[in-house]
């Protein structure tokens, strides 16, 4: 039994493709493609099997709160009856896909509140730290914090979404030595203690980024969510080499100096995205280890997906809740906590890879951080492929400079009108003019960021902020400057061209087109993701 829980999980590995290698499953939005990679010059990077979760998560949570790391006392000693306590937590973008109940945030927040109740704390606010993301709906909040917490706090207005555009709800706390303005949620700034509850899905999450990004607004974010920062983040999944994180760490210091006291609770999850058993379990098995049942399920699913309308497929996939298990929890001082968290993320994700490749292929799934219960529009396809997946490396990018990235995704010319209104205008107006991130930033960003209508929708509807599609585009700036060509297989031709990429019908066509850039007989590496992995490229 390759995936039996009684065996130690196997680490990720690199498969050298030969003539006998089976076709590889590529994610393709709300579907899958089976692709045969050229033998002798292709390799596939497989993720590690899911690590075992903590056997007693509730016990581990309590232990972490009572035995903090770094310069912090145990949680009960930080609480007193007359204090202002703010509990902030990660928003709908984590984890992906959303996890089965009980969500880690619910477990932690209930334990924290129980300790706060014991200490007699009355003044408690809970804030979804969503920066410029869309507001979470009641159902989503209930899923994250649980019904008990929601029913106790939300009706009294004590559990709410962060509003970065509330003129009375934000405050500027200072400036970093680099001239970066640090804006912060006023309630959190005025609290005696801010407890941040985090889920670290990838190495980019957590640390000072939790608060310095999650509880801030455009005034601060423009300093690190920009083209310059992204070009100097190699990669933004590797904190030591990420200008994005350096900026957040500087802002974290300003917060500390301004007297904001943060008790950081960070958790890591395993990569049990599709379950060890169940209808999608074959997606986290290696193809040659599929049982007859796995093959039958996959074929049935493929046939079913072929005849299903796209909306129904989206609905079906969005009901999937990952059976993630918590692999670690640590609490206390932000930086000390984050060191251990990052090590635990790497323990699950890192796969050693030798050398770069001419062509990097990737199959993009149906979900990214910004389309939960929504539509993966073309801008998000670019962001997921060239932003997140491209940056899942440590050391050097998987693809050589001037190489080609081939993405598999349907890339529909479709947008969620409620969630992504500014994306529509960005796609129709900005990308029709230019796809150069630097030019886009210079020419359009301010107008979108300060647009009253987008601000209104962000504050009162469930829309991402007007500037958000810009950030998505900047997320891919490093990849755009690094690679020679981007090809999308199976995408909507017009949408792909609008993105500035080349469309291809099949992977074979895409490889043919790529040879114009990288020459004949190029080396190919496929990033088999998700379940999540991070390439440690030497």
């Amino acid at each position: 039994m390759s995936n039996g829980r009684h065996l130690a999980p196997r680490p990720g590995f690199v498969l050298d493709v030969d003539r006998n290698s089976p076709p590889i499953v590529f994610h393709h939005g709300e579907g899958f493609r089976l692709e045969k990679l050229p033998a002798g010059r292709s390799r596939v990077i497989y993720p590690a099997e899911p690590l075992e979760g903590l056997t007693d998560p509730d016990g581990a949570i309590r232990h972490a709160l009572l035995n903090p790391i770094g310069d912090s006392g145990p949680l009960p000693t930080l609480l007193r009856p007359d204090m202002k306590l703010t509990i902030a937590f990660d928003d709908i973008s984590l984890p992906l896909p959303p996890m089965r109940r009980p969500d880690i945030r619910q477990r932690i927040i209930e334990t924290v509140l129980d300790i706060a109740a014991e200490a007699g704390v009355d003044d408690v606010h809970l804030i979804a730290a969503l920066a410029l993301h869309r507001r979470m709906t009641e159902d989503e909040l209930r899923h994250a914090v649980g019904d008990r917490v929601y029913d106790a706090f939300a009706p009294k207005g004590l559990l709410y979404n962060h509003d970065a555009e509330d003129p009375d709800g934000m405050v500027v706390l200072g400036e970093t030595p680099h001239g970066e303005t640090v804006q912060f949620n006023k309630r959190a700034a005025e609290s005696d203690l801010v407890i941040y509850v985090n889920i670290n899905l990838v190495a980019m999450d957590g640390g000072h980024k939790s608060t310095a990004t999650g509880l801030t607004g455009y005034t601060s974010l423009r300093h690190n969510h920009n083209v310059h920062t992204m070009l100097n983040s190699t990669s933004f999944m590797d904190r030591e080499n990420s200008a994005l994180h350096s900026s957040n760490w500087r802002m974290g210091k300003v917060l500390r100096d301004a007297g904001v006291k943060i008790f950081q609770i960070e958790t890591t999850v395993n990569n049990d995205t599709f379950g060890r058993e169940g209808p999608l379990s074959m997606l986290q098995k290696r193809e040659w280890e599929w049982s007859g049942r796995d093959r039958a399920s996959f074929l049935a699913m493929q046939q079913g997906l072929k005849i299903m309308p796209t909306n129904l497929k989206r609905k079906a996939f969005s009901t999937w809740l990952a059976p993630y298990e918590m692999t670690s929890i640590q609490a206390g001082e932000v930086e000390a906590v984050h060191e251990i968290t990052t090590a635990n993320v790497y323990r699950q994700h890192l796969v050693p890879v030798e050398g770069q490749t001419d062509i990097l292929t990737m199959g993009l799934p149906y979900i990214c951080p910004y389309n939960v219960n929504s539509i993966m529009n073309p801008i998000l396809v670019m962001c997921l492929g060239l932003g997140y997946f491209f940056n899942l490396y440590r050391g050097r990018p998987l693809v050589r400079e001037g190489g080609v990235v081939i993405i598999s995704h349907p890339t529909p010319w479709e947008f969620h009108p409620v969630h992504h209104p500014s994306y529509i205008d960005f796609f129709e107006e900005v990308l029709a003019d230019t796809t150069d991130p630097g030019e886009i930033e210079k020419k359009y960003e301010k107008r979108f960021a300060e647009d009253e209508w987008y601000i209104h929708l962000y504050r009162n509807s469930y829309a991402y902020h007007g500037v958000h599609p810009f950030y998505m585009w900047y997320w891919g700036a490093h990849a755009l400057s690094h690679v020679g060509r981007v090809i999308i297989v199976g995408g909507d031709t017009r949408a792909v061209r609008r993105l500035g990429f080349q469309p291809a019908s099949t992977l074979a066509d895409a490889l043919e087109m790529a040879s114009d850039v990288v020459g004949p007989q190029p080396t190919i590496t496929h990033l088999k993701n998700p379940p999540l992995l991070m390439a440690d490229v030497t």
Binding site: D58, L113, D114, A117, V124, G146, V149, D151, A152, F153
Partner: protein, 296 residues
């Protein structure tokens, strides 16, 4: 001339002066319920529970079920203890307890009430998987049976108050459930039921509709050396706290629980009318007759 058949075709007459023995009645605590846990009875019960009972509860009780996620940590059988207002409590709980426990639960039922006749006994055993529990005298048989069933993987539902509430307030928990939990080392899941007193409270025979809330609490284990009486008090406090959670919210309930100011299950120790008065909205509903035309 008809021949009159004698013994052994007819019973032998009791000799004069001899006291005949009392006929043995296999009722009350002696009633054997094993047949009700075999496959055919289980199948009938499961079918009725998932159709008739669930529908009736949906119509009568509109149940709101909270805290079932707290049972995630329970692995194996458990003892469910709940406050008790009404005959509606048992079907409501049986349709509320989540899988995998729902169809493997036996209900501790008063031996002197539910097992007083053969018909009642058979119905109680078949419909709710009841086992007889002595509540008027101390007996080893009930406890042994419950312990055996727990060992076999059955969960047990017990109302530790020993009977339905006479006035809307709860009654002190007896030690039976706590004793059983300590003896078998199984977790106890406290459950609070609100609203069933308005459906079919003690003394009423016809049910009426009301909204109900079933709140499951965190499973509790007896600590080392804890006595049944002390554990029973802890269970009572846990159910009371769940009642507070259902009436207010989880945060207030936790604050009061830690401060030791949770409203108790048994109500204030004052005169009868003041106890009813203190029930407030939870008390008896006005039964004024509706008239179509005002009396002049």
């Amino acid at each position: 001339m008809a021949v009159r058949l004698g013994f052994p075709w007819r019973p032998a007459p009791v000799p004069p002066g001899v006291e005949p023995p009392e006929p043995t009645r296999q009722l009350e605590a002696e009633y054997d319920t094993a047949w009700a846990r075999r496959f055919p009875a289980r199948l009938i019960r499961a079918s009725l529970l998932e159709t008739v009972m669930r529908f009736v509860m949906f119509v009568l009780a509109s149940p709101k079920r909270k805290g079932t996620d707290r049972l995630n940590t329970v692995d194996g059988p458990a003892i469910f203890v709940a406050n008790h207002h009404s005959h509606a409590d048992t079907p409501l709980l049986l349709t509320s307890i989540p899988e995998p426990w729902r169809h493997r639960v036996v209900v501790g039922a008063a031996a002197d009430y539910f097992f007083s006749t053969y018909l009642n006994s058979a119905l109680a055993a078949l419909l709710i998987n009841a086992i007889p529990i002595e509540r008027t005298k101390v007996g080893r048989k009930s406890a042994n049976l419950a312990a055996e069933l727990l060992d076999e993987g059955w969960s047990v539902l017990i109302f530790p108050e020993g009977g339905r509430s006479p006035d809307g307030w709860g009654q002190p928990f007896r030690g039976g459930a706590a004793y059983l939990a300590i003896r078998c080392n199984v977790p106890v899941v406290p459950v609070h039921i609100a609203g069933t007193d308005r459906i079919l409270r003690k003394g009423r025979f016809l049910p009426s509709r009301s909204n109900t809330t079933v709140t499951f609490g965190d499973p509790l284990l007896a600590s080392d050396g804890e006595h049944a009486r002390g554990f029973a008090s802890r269970l009572e406090a846990a159910v009371a706290s769940l009642g507070h959670e259902a009436a207010s919210d989880w945060w207030q309930a936790r604050q009061h629980a830690h401060a030791g100011t949770s409203p108790g299950l048994t109500g204030p120790d004052i005169g009868a009318w003041r106890r009813i008065w203190a029930l407030g909205d939870r008390g008896k509903k006005s039964r004024r007759r509706k008239v179509l035309w005002p009396e002049l």
